[in-house]
């Protein structure tokens, strides 16, 4: 049954620096890097050593917990360096790229006429598996599981996120193949939620298309899961980003793992916010080359609510198709706590008048606008959280590590990204996403 999802509780943060619909090609990086930390909870075991040559799409390490899950190199070249941290934890694998990519050639498979195990083997062998994530816990899916359903969000609602109609233009065939693959993996349905402007959606048997509208987080998959078929204790569902469904589809159509992403360059730190074609693992300095403004800016792989802080030398995150650059806010603000500040946004009206100009776009910086405090205000998180969950009560249960209470309050239904808005509006400046991540990790450890 197709559902209409309307989200009223939430917040569309209006920022300056939306990407113009112009696409250019990023310069090919000399070095590409894969960071195991992009795959939360995965302990990498290296397959290849430093100095080994790799093809594009060749596995370089696998997950210690789930050895079938392999992680591949996006380019062909030589493994230049494996950077390790404390206790020899692998932080980053750097691959010196050849000038031209040589791909690992996989067979072309028609997913519709294949069995579940054939499809699964193909995904695992090709390195596409990490695109599939599991709820609860928001980690890479376990290859032994069969999920009760698979959810794909076809809506981008986070601040300045790329326009999916633009990004997925011309990928209908790949998407159709990708969705056909997903339908094989679950015993239940594949649910896709799109909005009224969507024009990339193919119709595939076994895929239920839902309509979503309203404010962010309508595009977050947890929101859609909660409205369509909520996760209960003991159940597992999988999620895949829609861009990655196209990558999976392309693998089955062409036999190649094409690590190409159309990356939205957004935020006021860009001279020309626009789109760039780059490979997964590309060095950010190459992706943003010639487009960055001089000055004190923060580079974020992803959007401002959930992305990761990066330097120019870092690589584009594995799951990210957006780079946001906004001003750093590491300066003092004279009487900043009581005078009205027209260049800042607030959901409160406490001497802040942004509510008078609801359509104004802001150039926000990274200042926390206050110091860390205990939880004081109540009822504010609920206004931006459409899930049937008590955010503060859940956060407090996590902080005191009360597993029964966390379970009762719905920890299985959330991912850190669902707490980005509550984190944004929190006057006590607590790190909600970090707290939720800790809670999920504790659940993995204690409950599994």
């Amino acid at each position: 049954m197709s559902k209409d999802i309307r989200i009223k509780k939430g917040l569309d943060l209006k920022l300056k620096g939306e990407a113009e619909k112009q696409l250019s090609n990023a310069t090919r990086s000399k070095v590409y890097a894969i960071k195991p930390s992009d795959f939360h909870g995965v302990t990498p075991k290296m397959i290849l050593k430093e100095g080994a040559t790799v093809k594009a799409g060749e596995a370089i390490f696998f997950s210690k917990k789930d050895e079938a899950v392999k992680f591949i190199s996006p380019v062909s070249g030589t493994i230049q360096e494996i950077i390790r941290g404390e206790k020899r934890v692998i932080l980053e694998i750097r691959i010196l790229a050849d000038s031209q990519d040589v791909y690992v050639e996989h067979s072309k498979i028609n997913p519709k006429s294949s069995s579940r195990s054939e499809v699964k083997e193909h995904l695992l062998a090709s390195g596409c598996w990490p695109f599939i994530k599991q709820r609860p816990y928001d980690v890479v899916a376990n290859s032994a599981d069969t999920p009760k359903a698979i959810f794909v969000s076809g809506i981008h609602s986070a601040p300045l996120e790329g326009d999916l109609n633009f990004v997925l233009n011309g990928k209908k065939d790949a998407l159709e193949a990708g969705f056909a693959v997903l339908t094989k993996l679950t015993s239940g349905k594949v649910h896709v939620t799109v909005d009224s402007k969507t024009d990339f959606m193919p119709s595939t048997e076994g895929v239920v298309v839902h309509k979503g509208q309203g404010v962010h987080p309508v595009g977050l998959v947890s929101t859609q899961i909660a409205k369509i078929d909520p996760i209960n204790k003991g159940e597992k569902v999988w999620t895949v980003q829609i861009e990655d469904v196209a990558v999976i589809g392309e693998l089955f159509l062409t036999g190649k793992f094409n690590a190409e992403r159309i990356v939205a360059l957004t935020g006021t730190g860009f001279e020309r916010p626009s789109y760039v074609k780059a490979l997964i693992g590309a060095q950010i300095s190459d992706v943003v080359a010639g487009n960055l403004k001089e000055g004190n800016y923060r580079i974020i792989s992803g959007n401002v609510l959930t992305g990761d802080k990066k330097t120019k030398e870092d690589a584009l995150g594995f799951y990210h198709s957006q780079i946001t650059v906004i001003p750093e806010g590491d300066d003092y603000d004279f009487f900043g706590w009581n005078i009205p500040r027209p260049n800042k946004f607030s959901v409160y009206r406490a001497m802040m008048f942004s509510f008078l100009t609801p359509n104004k776009k802001y150039d926000l910086n990274t200042n926390t606008n206050g110091e860390h405090r205990g939880f004081v205000l109540t009822g504010e998180y609920e206004k931006v959280c459409p899930l049937d969950i008590y955010p503060m009560q859940l956060l407090k249960a996590i902080l005191v590590k009360d597993i029964d209470q966390m379970e009762a309050l719905g920890i299985y239904e959330v991912a850190p990204e669902d707490f980005a808005l509550t984190e944004f509006v929190d006057v006590s400046k607590q790190d909600h996403q970090r707290i939720v991540r800790q809670g999920l990790d504790l659940m993995i450890k204690e409950v599994g």
Binding site: I300, T366, I389, K429
Partner: protein, 400 residues
């Protein structure tokens, strides 16, 4: 070098020393700190706890100023006759200023002093909660309260009522009401009766001006004893606040404006305020009904208060002040939206109930709020359990 840079250098110098917390507390008042986000949401709302607390304080300023005028007006009115005295005169204001400013200074001085000491010893930042408490306290005490009593009570309220629980955000009871309850139970003669609610009533100005001692009685006190009310205590004057009472509680008009301000700014809970007013009105109507039905007749000791029309109950005493500024304290109130409605309603209900049935202490709002502070977590528990049960039921449906 600029002030900003100098202060920044000092901050670095004091980092890790005993001065750190105290210096930072003062520094952040001048400059919003240069802290940036590092993980999670990279941008944050412009409001912080200081801004929130500041908004509440701003809402209280008109009430405080009105309290200063009223202090002089009540005294001069009794001496010279209320018809002959204007309200907004400098003389009235100065009478109030002279008495209320010391209350404010002692309240902030003692309370913040303790907060700074605790912050330094426990090595956490000085939190803003007391900025509101410190302003509330002078507004809810009788004007002639000796300063040493206030100092002792503030120390008790801050240490026992708040810091022992872990500081701002952790306390069970509203700190300002804890302070007031401490005063009430230790020095009841200073906190109730008919001697304390007008400046000068305690020591009597008899000797100096030849008038009988000033009466320090309030409307509630008079009603509790079934006394007839004088003409200048009519509903209109009660509403605008030209009546005796604690320093800042008398003007229902200004308090309603403050309440609207808090609701519009998104800081105060409309749920609590509105449901509390409804709760009080319902209880008032019940008592009015008892009188109408003849169950309570003239001569009964409850007649005076039960006979008063329910809507007038809303205008007198500290009810409005308690509802707008104390019941809405987010830390000690219910934290769930449904819980807030129940919590507010019961506060209103109990306020009037205590008011009518406790002749020794005719204003019930303090007790009602403290009582509901204690029960707020219980209310929340049942509200949250409903959510938990919904989740369990979903699971059962699945497995069945």
């Amino acid at each position: 070098m600029s002030l900003k840079q100098n202060l920044h250098n000092l901050k670095e110098k004091y980092r890790g020393t005993k001065m750190e917390q105290s210096f930072n507390a003062l520094h952040t008042f001048l400059y919003m700190p240069n802290i940036t986000t590092h993980s999670g949401s990279h941008v944050r709302d412009a409001a912080d706890l200081k801004r929130v607390m500041n908004t509440v304080i701003m809402a209280m300023v008109p009430v405080l100023l009105f309290g200063m005028f009223n202090a002089g007006y009540q005294m001069n009115g009794q001496i010279n006759g209320f018809e002959a005295v204007d309200f907004f005169t400098l003389d009235n204001f100065l009478v109030g200023l002279k008495k209320i400013l010391p209350l404010l200074v002692v309240s902030y001085g003692v309370g913040l002093g303790i907060e700074f000491i605790f912050a330094t010893v426990k090595k956490h930042e000085v939190e803003e909660g007391y900025l509101v408490t410190g302003m509330l306290v002078p507004l809810i005490v009788p004007i002639d309260l000796p300063l040493w009593m206030l100092a002792v009570a503030v120390a008790f309220g801050v240490i026992i009522g708040k810091e022992l629980f872990g500081g701002t955000g952790m306390n069970v009871l509203n700190p300002a009401l804890t302070i007031r309850a401490f005063l009430f139970f230790n020095w009841a003669a200073w906190m109730s009766g008919d001697k304390v609610w007008v400046h000068g009533a305690v020591d009597g100005l008899k000797a100096s001006n030849g008038v009988d001692a000033i009466s320090g009685e309030t409307i509630l006190g008079a009603l509790a004893q079934n006394k007839p009310l004088p003409e200048h205590w009519d509903a209109m004057n009660s509403f605008f606040g030209f009546i005796p009472g604690s320093v800042g509680e008398t003007s229902t008009f200004l308090i309603v404006l403050a309440g609207l301000f808090l609701i519009l700014t998104g800081i105060g809970s409309a749920r609590i305020m509105i449901s509390a007013v409804i709760g009080a009105a319902v209880m008032g109507l019940i008592f009015n009904g008892l009188v109408d039905s003849g169950a309570i007749v003239e001569g009964s000791k409850f007649y005076g208060l039960m006979h008063l029309p329910f809507w007038q109950h809303l205008l007198i005493g500290g009810l409005a002040f308690g509802i707008v500024f104390m019941a809405t304290d987010p830390v000690s109130a219910s934290q769930t939206n449904t819980g807030k409605i129940i919590y507010g309603f019961l506060i209103g209900l109990f306020s009037i109930l205590i008011r009518v049935f406790n002749p020794a202490y005719p204003e019930g709002v303090m007790m009602a709020i403290l009582l509901m502070n204690v029960f707020a977590p219980t209310i929340d528990h049942y509200v949250v359990q409903a959510n938990v049960k919904r989740r369990m039921k979903r699971l059962k449906l699945k497995t069945a």
